[in-house]
């Protein structure tokens, strides 16, 4: 699904990530850990071609990201749901409109039934008409998750989805992501919350990718 071939990323003469060779297989569940500033967000950006590898190559859905045109990138984004670290909503639109934004930009009809089902699934039925700035941290994360999955993407990338929510809410978000994985979606969660990883491992065959010393290390079993 997403493959790294000896890929690296650097900026201003400084290497942030190097020698990454790995495959994110369809239906797999990965955690991505590492200290703050290690390059987790950067790694995810390489996965949805917000950034391009400066060394080696990355291929997404079997296509080399270096040869993709602007429109191809746009189409690619419709197959990858991203929960951004800072969520990124359009504040002048309602929660429902924000969640439906991927449908809007794709020119697809906004099926109201599906939309309210989805918002109920993430527990935001009450906030449909609210504006994003009125939401709490947990509500924003859940709205971002709903937006990430509305196109029924093949891959879901979540960047610290539990960053600013309490444990209760973290478990709930994790549960939603595990449900999606059971539906066959490839899931990658960037987090440095080890409790969360342990919690997940009890339910799914999650693998852990750890960034340390500018490299990605895969550890299947222990932590």
């Amino acid at each position: 699904m997403i493959e790294f071939y000896d890929a690296g990323y650097g900026y201003g003469g400084r290497e942030l990530l190097t020698e990454m060779s790995l495959t994110l297989a369809p239906g797999s569940f990965h955690f991505l850990t590492g200290p703050s500033g290690a390059g987790k967000t950067t790694f995810l950006k390489l996965c949805y071609r917000e950034l391009q590898a400066t060394a080696g190559r990355v291929s997404i859905f079997g296509e080399d990201t270096r040869s993709m045109g602007r429109d191809e990138v746009a189409l690619l984004r419709r197959r990858i749901g991203v929960v951004h670290q800072d969520c990124q909503f359009l504040d002048h639109l309602s929660v429902a409109e924000n969640v439906a934004l991927p449908l809007t930009v794709s020119g697809l009809p906004r099926d109201h039934g599906d939309l309210s089902d989805l918002l109920a699934w993430v527990g935001l039925s009450e906030q449909i008409h609210a504006r994003p700035p009125e939401l709490s941290g947990g509500e924003r994360q859940r709205a971002a998750l709903a937006r990430a999955v509305i196109m029924s993407p093949d891959v879901i990338l979540a960047d610290e989805p539990t960053g600013n929510v309490d444990w209760e809410m973290s478990l709930r978000l994790l549960q939603l992501l595990i449900e999606l994985n059971r539906m066959g979606k490839t899931v990658v969660i960037a987090t440095h919350d080890l409790h969360l990883i342990r919690q997940a491992k009890a339910q799914v065959a999650a693998r852990v990718l750890r960034i340390s010393n500018r490299r990605i290390q895969q550890s299947g079993a222990d932590l």
Partner: protein, 299 residues
Amino acid sequence: MKAILLSFLNFRESASGRVVPPSGFTAQLTVITSAAMAFLAVFALALSMATGRLAERWGNELARGSTVRISAPADQIDTQIAAALKVLETTPGVADARLLTAEEETDLLEPWFGPDLPLDTLPLPALIDIQEMPEGFDAEGLRLRLAGEAPGAVLDDHSRWRKPLLRAAERLRLLGVLSLLLIAGVTAGMITLAANAALAANGQVIRTLRLVGATDRFIAGAFVRRFTLRGLMGAVIGTLFGMVAVALLPSADGAGSFLTGLGFVGGQWVWPLTIPVLAALVAFAATRVAATQTLRRLM
């Protein structure tokens, strides 16, 4: 076609139209400037149409109607008339040359001197009326030949004063057209600036749209349609005001001179109605270019 137009006009209400946040002040400024430009365009158009009419009228009224005036001692006059007529017959561009009778001359002079004019006692010159062909004749060449054959003949060629006036009218018309082009250019520039400002102010919105899979076409479209609508709306207002202002101009026709008032005549009133359409086209093209370039630059 109607459906496309309707969906275009309903765009403000639709979901894809609302992805770009409303920007009150810039929006109003665009509408107002577009209205002012359309207002000016109506006058520039009226100017070029009025001067066009003027040039045409002068051209038609004066093109055919030159005269040769012959004054000579009584014993020479008949030979000189005959010589002058012969010269005119062989001049290319002269359709017909005819000596005016004494009665006709009296009729011509009556308005100026009254009916009791003692014609016989006055040494009146003989007059030859020349009917020109549409392409006209070479006045200088004719003048030289007349001087050789009939020394008492003088060619009264209206083109002597008609030509500079015609040239002035045509120059004015050109200036009117140039003004229209300048107005279109300024409008394009203004819309480009406003669109660029809007694109720059909405960098975060564009980034978010990109992240959820919006193509450049979609993002550009949201801006293009917004600015096209604003340009159109402003131009409709400006054009209507301009047309009312032109309609209320005092008419100069009553003076009976060659002057025709600045304004539109009959079917010409349709022309200013094309200004809003052109303004919308200009706004469309300007925003499209600006948006495409900016989006390319923003990675």
